[in-house]
Amino acid sequence: METLREYEWGVAAICGGMCSCATCHVYVAPEWAGKLPDRQSDESDLLSELQFRQETSRLSCQVRLDDALNGLSVKLAPEE
């Protein structure tokens, strides 16, 4: 999320990473989806009510970038 926020068209990330708002919604490229840490219940709960939710939806504040994710590709979901 912090990485995406740096872009002019970044995520809104209103709550700043507290997993409280679902305004940092992204679609993870399918080849990466299985390599990310599993969703915790808060993230799943918030995602479940998003109208633009897809199979590979994630809240980017819950995905910490490390070397294993070097090359990760995501697409920003439309704002709700």
Partner: protein
């Protein structure tokens, strides 16, 4: 179009609203020069972590920045920091800075935010000079608090609002001895129902906070050098020894600049639904505005990040010549201990309180109804129901109280469906 290159939009106030407004202008296609003026030395930053993660001591100031310096440079957004605007000369469209320099604006955005409400006891001025007395609004405030935030220290928090309670929770996690003093009969009295206040009071007491309500600060004791507070005197002859005092008794909007410039001000800078002030060349957004709420049917002033972000975008759209109305439903959050509180709507004026779930299990949603309609919801550790409640509150429809409380029926079954997805992507 050709005139735009001469345009210079100034944004006064480098908080969450100011930073968001600047980037939103670029997203809306503005090619004007953009300058954000801020009194603090820091880039626009998030304030909510100040009473939580930042206070705990595990973050650098730059971790709070909305965006880092490079992003501002890339978007060609100028930052004029540690600089105050002394006055606005509207007739000449000029800003006068504290160093006497003047600039001309084509459009102006006021995102001046708020400041901590100060104590009014007779010793307030002396207290504010003491090295262990702090309000909590800025990074510098918290850096100062942090330097004394050590296990065993006796922390006295004046004010049982969200800031005070979040500081209490953070302090308990760091093994300080914590006392909270609230003048009203219950904590969070202005923002939530007695049931929620009682719940939070119990949680804090169970965590070890000495939480006292109905108690007012009457005076302070100082050390021999008179540069540090040693105790807090309260009504009833109570004296609470203190190593550190943090005051969280509310916020005041920064409206003086607007008022002196002759703009309409009434508990906030008065703006319309397009975030325009009484001067068509000046917009305002965030904590400092008094704005019409479609949802509430009246004018309101909000102290919240979502409001700052969403209203800033409306203000930017106005400046970019693509006006749209601000009609968002307010929402808020507060994290204390293991409790994730998410709130939507404004509960003021409710006539029915409905509890779904269990306060004992720390998992519930509290609904506020007025004439049968849901006007607000406070959800604790119920993120999904919070998301659903946001839609229910926005829909402004009547709901059956018994059905809301019935956990055998998924809340989703009662709520309006989410709007049909537009073509994604």
């Amino acid at each position: 179009m050709s005139t735009e290159s001469h345009d210079h939009i100034y944004i006064v106030g480098a908080g969450h609203a100011g930073g968001e407004l600047a980037f939103s202008l670029r997203q809306q296609g503005s090619t004007a020069a953009i300058t954000i003026v801020g009194e603090e030395a820091y880039l626009p930053y998030q304030r909510p972590p100040l009473s939580k993660a930042f206070l705990k001591g595990d973050l650098e100031p730059s971790a709070l920045y909305l965006r880092q310096q490079a992003a501002f440079e890339k978007a060609n957004i100028n930052l004029l920091l540690s600089r105050r605007v002394e006055r606005i000369e509207r007739a000449a469209k000029k800003l006068v800075f504290d160093d006497g320099r003047e600039v001309t604006y084509s459009k102006l955005a006021l995102t001046t935010g708020g400041r901590a409400r100060r104590m009014t006891i007779s010793q307030a001025a002396q207290a504010e000079r003491a090295k262990n007395f702090h309000y909590l609004r800025t990074i510098d405030d918290v850096l100062a608090i942090r330097s004394r935030f050590e296990a065993g220290q006796r922390l006295v928090i004046i004010g049982g609002g969200y800031i005070g309670l979040e500081v209490a929770a953070t302090a308990i996690a760091r093994d300080l001895n914590v006392t909270v003093l609230e003048a009203l009969p219950r904590v969070l009295a202005r923002v939530t129902a007695p049931e929620l206040s009682a719940f939070y009071e119990q949680v804090h007491r169970n965590a070890g906070v000495d939480l006292r309500t109905n108690i007012e600060v009457t005076g302070l004791d100082f050390n021999a050098d008179a540069d540090a507070i040693t105790g807090v005197h309260c009504t009833g002859g109570v004296l609470v020894p203190a190593d550190l005092v943090v005051v969280g008794i509310g916020q005041l909007p920064n409206t003086e600049l607007a008022q002196a410039a002759g703009l309409d001000v009434d508990n906030g800078i008065v703006v319309n639904e397009f975030a325009v002030t009484s001067d068509p060349d000046i917009v305002a957004a965030g904590d400092c505005t008094n704005h019409p709420s479609v949802f509430c049917g009246r004018r309101i002033r909000l102290e919240s990040v979502p409001n700052a972000v969403e209203q800033s975008r409306v203000a930017a759209a106005t400046l970019a010549g693509k006006p749209r109305t601000y009609d968002a439903v307010p929402w808020f959050w507060s994290d204390q201990y293991d409790l994730k509180l998410q709130m939507t709507g404004l509960s003021h004026g409710y006539d029915q309180f409905v509890l779904r779930g269990s306060m004992n299990n720390k998992s519930f949603a509290a609904f506020y109804l007025k004439d049968g309609r849901m006007i607000a919801c406070d959800a604790v550790n119920r993120a999904q129901e919070f998301m659903i409640a946001k839609r229910m509150v926005a829909a402004c429809k009547p709901y059956d109280a018994a059905a809301l409380a019935d956990e055998t029926v998924p809340l989703k079954n009662l709520a309006p469906p989410p709007p049909a997805p537009a073509a994604a992507g």
